[in-house]
């Protein structure tokens, strides 16, 4: 039995233009140590409604390990280069590009693996939640409750593409044609 909520949530605000010196930490985008076994690059570009890349956005991911297990290990903030915590933070560069070194998130019990992702940006009044699904397992993707509730174009906005060298590519569009599906819980 869940009792009614008693406290009104504090509203969110934009991260603004100057978050970099407040939020940066060493190796923030190295969820997995680069080139370690199983490490892949997850990268893409964040676009605005005119199709222009956003150079002052911030993407955070939190994902399970390759076997689908959720890490409860500390150390996301002080990387030791071997503990997998699942959490990473990346600032977009001047071309709107973000990238992480991480592992391919595993699914569980017939469910597809995905990264939970949050986007922040100057000009974006509050955070946006989304998911970045791993491509390939069409049966699991097809059975996913969220994906199966979407049309083909919306679904495509949530599923990464595998690059020829085995990495993952995923663009995020805040607005407009092929707008990324964002989530409320």
């Amino acid at each position: 039995m869940i009792p009614p909520k008693t406290h009104r949530p504090t509203p969110g605000q934009t991260v603004g233009p100057f978050f970099a010196y407040g939020l940066e930490f060493p190796k923030q985008h190295e969820v997995a140590f680069p080139h370690s076994p199983g490490a892949i690059v997850l990268s893409g570009t964040v676009f605005d409604g005119a199709g222009a890349p956003i150079p002052d956005a911030l993407v955070e991911i939190f994902g399970p390990d390759a076997d689908g297990s959720v890490s409860h290990a500390r150390g996301a903030f002080r990387r030791d280069d071997h503990t997998f915590t699942g959490f990473g933070r990346a600032f977009t560069n001047d071309e709107g590009h973000y990238e992480f070194w991480t592992r391919t998130p595993g699914g569980s019990a017939g469910r597809p693996g995905f990264f939970a992702a949050i986007v922040f940006a100057r000009g974006l009044p509050n955070k946006l939640h989304t998911r970045i699904y791993v491509p390939g397992d069409d049966a699991a993707l097809g059975a996913d409750p969220l994906l199966s509730s979407l049309d083909a174009e919306e679904r495509a906005s949530l599923v990464a593409t595998r690059t020829p060298d085995g990495h993952l590519h995923h663009d995020i569009r805040l607005q407009g044609e092929k707008e990324t599906v964002f989530l409320a819980f």
Binding site: I2, P17, L150
Partner: protein
């Protein structure tokens, strides 16, 4: 991969139309009235409006579709784990990061991190960043002609204790000019970034100071359309937290929003 070169970030900071403050203030009032009417008609609206054109740089950066309501799944019901040792105690004192003392009004900000049921959230990371007492950010893209303070960076971190409490010692930030419209000034604020026990509770917000005359003029503060929600972002002056001959004190409690599933998450941790 993009083939469009990104505009230089500096050029994006200035809105092209440069409306007057009176025009922006009118747009804010009209947006608030329209949102209140939609709410009165039964629509459920988020506390912060994503589509708030008085904040000019939001025009091309907000989603136009409603978010999809989903049940959070495993990974979304957990959050990266933090502990007291992840942050050095000195990182919560922004006045001790350089050889000398920063200029300005020394202040303490203290508060509690709570979930939607009022339960304290222990061992969570809180990050803050802010302008100095002259309203200048150390960021290289902030080029407005106010002095940098060689003894103040303006970034701090803390981990909440077992009672969900955090405390920072800092310098009260100054109001800050920006280029949203002509003669645009942000009310003094401290940026806050917090984690909860579930990733869905992640929050980035801003804390303001009581009685700021710039509140009614600021499109970012007013992207929160209800007065009672805006009030929640104003720190409360607390004379009991003020220490003699040392620092003024403000209280700022933060409540993260969690779907019902997070109720059990926190119970499980206890």
């Amino acid at each position: 991969m993009s083939r469009t070169p990104a505009a230089a970030p500096e050029s994006l900071l200035a809105a092209p139309d440069q409306a007057t403050q009176a025009e922006i203030t009118r747009e804010i009032a009209e947006a608030h009235a329209a949102l209140a009417a939609r709410e009165a008609a039964g629509e459920s609206l988020p506390a912060t409006a994503y589509d708030f054109p008085a904040y000019r740089s939001s025009v091309l950066r907000h989603p136009t579709k409603n978010p999809k309501l989903v049940d959070p799944e495993t990974i979304e019901l957990f959050s990266p784990a933090f502990g007291q040792r992840d942050v050095a105690a000195i990182e919560s004192d922004l006045t001790l990061q350089h050889a000398g003392e920063p200029l300005g009004e020394r202040m303490t900000v203290r508060g509690r991190l709570l979930d939607s049921w009022g339960r304290p959230l222990a061992n969570q990371l809180i990050e803050i960043w802010q302008a100095n007492s002259a309203g200048r950010y150390i960021h290289q893209r902030d080029q407005h002609p106010a002095p940098l303070d060689p003894n103040f960076t303006g970034a701090g971190r803390a981990i909440t204790n077992d009672a969900g409490e955090y405390a920072f010692t800092t310098i009260k930030p100054g109001p800050y000019p920006w280029k949203n419209h002509r003669n645009a000034w942000r009310p003094a604020h401290i940026h806050f970034s917090v984690f909860g026990t579930s990733f869905t509770q992640r929050l980035v917000t801003q804390m303001y100071f009581p009685g700021d005359p710039l509140f009614a003029l600021d499109p970012i503060y007013n992207s929160i359309h209800r007065q009672k929600d805006r009030d929640a972002l104003v720190g409360v002056y607390d004379h009991d937290l003020t220490s003699p001959e040392w620092a003024t004190g403000y209280r700022f409690d933060i409540v993260v929003d969690g779907p019902d599933q997070t109720y059990f998450e926190q119970e499980g941790d206890a």
